[in-house]
């Protein structure tokens, strides 16, 4: 679990996860990037006492639920440019289904419940992003 205030490349941490989990049958991953259409910049704000501890709790829950060999979540904060990575979520497990489901579980929870506030700069100025109803309903499949 890491919060980064500078850009990152997903490949090195993914390779490290794979190396750290030689017993796994595979690594599933998701990389979220800043949308390019109409978005000039994205700012991600967090609250340090809550954001990283919340992500760590989520990681513990995911490891237990899916029996993972390893997982990682890297998340940007601060100012981001279009097309740059916002989040990398990856899970290593014995079987494909566990790894893929774990990544979806991580992303569904990050999208709806993680302590981040986002605003986008478009041509007409800054806009705060509110969570979408789909982001909350996505959680239902895990209950």
């Amino acid at each position: 679990m890491r919060l980064l205030d500078r850009g990152f490349s997903p490949a090195p941490p993914l390779a490290r996860l794979a190396r750290a989990c030689p017993q796994s049958g595979g690594v599933a991953s998701y990389v979220g990037t800043v949308r390019s259409e109409g978005v000039l910049a994205l700012e991600l704000q967090h609250y340090p006492p809550l954001t990283l501890p919340g992500m760590e709790n989520l990681a513990v829950a995911a490891v237990e639920r899916f029996g993972l060999d390893g997982l990682l979540v890297w998340h940007r904060v601060g100012m981001l440019r279009p097309a740059s990575p916002i989040v990398l979520a990856a899970a290593a497990a014995r079987h494909r289904r566990q790894a893929l489901d774990a990544v979806e579980y991580l992303m569904d929870h990050l999208k709806s419940a993680a302590w981040f506030w986002k605003r986008e700069r478009r041509a007409d100025g800054w806009h705060w992003i509110e969570p979408r109803a789909e982001d909350f309903s996505a959680l239902d499949r895990w209950t």
């Binding site: 979220g32 991600l44 704000q45 609250y47 006492p49 809550l50 998340h75 916002i86 989040v87 990050l110 999208k111 709806s112 419940a113 993680a114 302590w115 981040f116 506030w117 986002k118 605003r119 705060w128 992003i129 509110e130 969570p131 982001d135």
Partner: protein, 87 residues
């Protein structure tokens, strides 16, 4: 006593700043008193936004379950947390 209040997300725009330090001659603050301080020392619009039940409160880094029952003491850091945008 003095408390530090942080305004997260859109509340920062309403407050016109990311945080404020409030000094009060009286003792501990309860929830209505904290709202009154925001109203008089920042802006009524901020106090109104914070009345939204979706705005959560953390004291010294821990989210408070029942914000109406909160007691703010000297040296506390209060974070006002509007609905998250997600990661």
């Amino acid at each position: 006593m003095s408390v530090r209040v942080l305004f997260l997300g859109p509340l920062r725009d309403l407050a016109g700043r990311g945080e404020s330090e409030f000094v009060s001659a009286s003792g501990d603050l309860d929830w209505p008193e904290l709202l009154a301080v925001l109203e008089s020392q920042v802006t009524p619009a901020l106090a109104d936004a914070v009345r939204d039940l979706r705005v959560k409160l953390a004291i010294n880094g821990a989210v408070v379950a029942d914000r109406e029952a909160v007691v703010v003491r000297d040296g506390d850091e209060i974070a006002l947390l509007p609905p998250v945008s997600g990661g």
